[in-house]
Amino acid sequence: MENIKEIKKGELITEGKKFLDAGGKFVTAVCNDLNTQLEVTYFFSINRGVEIKGLRYIVAKDEEVPSLSATTLSTVLIENEMKELFGLKVKDIAIDFGGHMLLAEDSPVTPMLKTKKDALKGEK
């Protein structure tokens, strides 16, 4: 996809801050399950929202990743969501719901991760 810059997870805050300092706005983040890894893309809108730019990193499922919420509070909900639904280990979220923003105590754990059954359904 155009306009997505590949970064290392440690660069998220400095690279994200560049968009925000230039008048950009955080839009959302998307997490994808790549079997042994997670692909995380943060999207920002610039130029009155006309253009979209993204920052993407790929990490192992057990790796800790930084939060952008200290820079912009707008990432709080989506970072909690990725943490709960994908098991992305986001550390230091400004408001951490402790794994229970969407999921209850007895909910399935990391329900958005792909299972073998899901993969079979997608065969041609």
């Binding site: 996809m1 925000l20 008048g23 706005k25 955080f26 839009v27 959302t28 998307v30 994808n32 999207f43 809108s45 009155r48 929202g49 006309v50 979209i52 912009t72 509070l73 707008s74 990432t75 709080v76 909900l77 989506i78 408001i95 229970h100 923003m101 969407l102 999921l103 209850a104 329900p111 958005m112 792909k114 899901d118 359904k121 997608g122 065969e123 041609k124």
Partner: protein, 360 residues
């Protein structure tokens, strides 16, 4: 020092038709802290979209919300159309624009009714919703359905608008405009409404950007940002500029929606008059390719963001939905602290929250 008390506002509350909880801490009558709690009705729609073939995602996604169902349907078909990519005809673009603005019209009428109800103007609430029925009637006439239109398909739309329908739509919209003007004047100029909304729940321009606000909530804070500026569908050929207010308070958010109501009527009439002849669907072959795409549309509450990733099979690898209320929800963190307890319902209502969208 006054003692602090924390009370649950919701998930069942008269001002909230859907379940969300705000844990409000107050001191005397003043709110000092708030924590939004969601998750009461999460439906796992994104997961469902990864389990069914792509065409079925339309039926799933248009049920994310009952008010902006059409925008969800448009977003999901257009994000999938970008995966191939599929080039749709200008007539399809115009038809989608007309129905989208119809939905904005009825959504803003619904919200204005709720605002009137929040102030105890029950008759006005009935009147706004009576007018809204006329818009639902033309939606039913043109799509076959009042709430979930189900008229979009990948590569086009199921129904066309003929010359007879065009005349009925324009006549109805003129009537909606006339009747709404009378009511909106009362809401916007009423002493009680102004006393309860002017200077209440101020979000500054910088805060609105920093919190990631969208739609009327963002534009009422002086930010001229709107997904329609990307010129998707027919917006690039219509006389469109975002409606912006600068005060950033509850009143400004009401004024933006009131003005957008009339702008949506203008856009529909302009689109109906400019709509070119052409096919209403193009053939789409095969499965969505291994590709990824983003589609942004402007729903009544703000920018709706869809991300899709195909893998060459009939099932998408990933479909992500970022709804407007999900983006506007962090704004309650600065809207409520400092306000009077009695102003909480109006403040919450002013962002036009849709929990159904948030709990997709």
């Amino acid at each position: 020092m006054a003692s602090r008390t924390t009370v649950p506002f919701g998930p069942q509350h008269p001002v909230l038709p859907e379940p969300i909880q705000l844990r409000i801490t107050y001191e005397d009558e003043k709110v000092v802290d708030v924590m939004p709690v969601i998750g009461y009705g999460h439906r796992g729609i994104e997961k469902a979209c990864e389990l069914h073939e792509y065409a079925k995602n339309i039926y799933v996604c248009e049920r994310v919300c009952g008010i902006c169902s059409y925008q969800h349907s448009t977003s999901v078909v257009e994000v999938m159309e970008q995966l191939w990519p599929v080039e749709i005809t200008p007539r399809i673009k115009y038809l989608r624009t007309i129905w989208a603005e119809m939905c904005r019209t009825h959504s803003h009428l619904l919200w204005l009714g709720l605002l009137a109800d929040a102030f105890g103007f029950e008759s006005m609430f009935y009147q706004f919703w009576r007018i809204r029925e006329k818009v639902l009637d033309i939606l039913e006439m043109t799509t076959g359905h009042r709430v979930i239109q189900s008229v979009n398909i990948v590569g086009g739309v199921r129904r066309d608008i003929d010359a007879d329908q065009k005349k009925i739509i324009i006549d109805t919209l003129e009537l909606v405009r006339k009747e709404s003007e009378d009511l909106v004047k009362v809401v916007i100029n009423d002493y009680t409404v102004k006393a309860r909304t002017v200077g209440v729940g101020v979000i500054t321009k910088e805060q609105a950007i920093s919190l990631g606000c969208v739609g009327p909530t963002l534009r009422a804070s002086g930010v001229s940002e709107d997904a329609r500026l990307t010129k998707y569908d027919a917006y690039g050929e219509l006389n469109y500029e975002p409606i912006v207010e600068t005060a950033g308070d509850c009143y400004a958010r009401a004024v933006v929606r009131a003005r957008e109501l009339f702008q949506a009527i203008d856009l529909q009439i302009e689109a109906l008059n400019k709509m070119p002849e052409g096919e209403i669907a193009v053939k789409v072959k095969g499965n969505p390719p291994a590709n990824e795409a983003v589609m942004r549309t402007e729903a009544p509450r703000g920018e709706l963001y869809y991300y899709a990733k195909g893998n060459g099979t009939r099932i998408l690898e990933r479909l992500k939905i970022r709804t407007p209320t999900f983006a506007n929800l962090p704004s309650v963190l600065i809207l409520l602290p400092g306000c009077q307890l009695a102003d909480v319902p109006v403040n919450v209502l002013s962002i036009d929250p849709c929990i159904s969208c948030t709990e997709r």
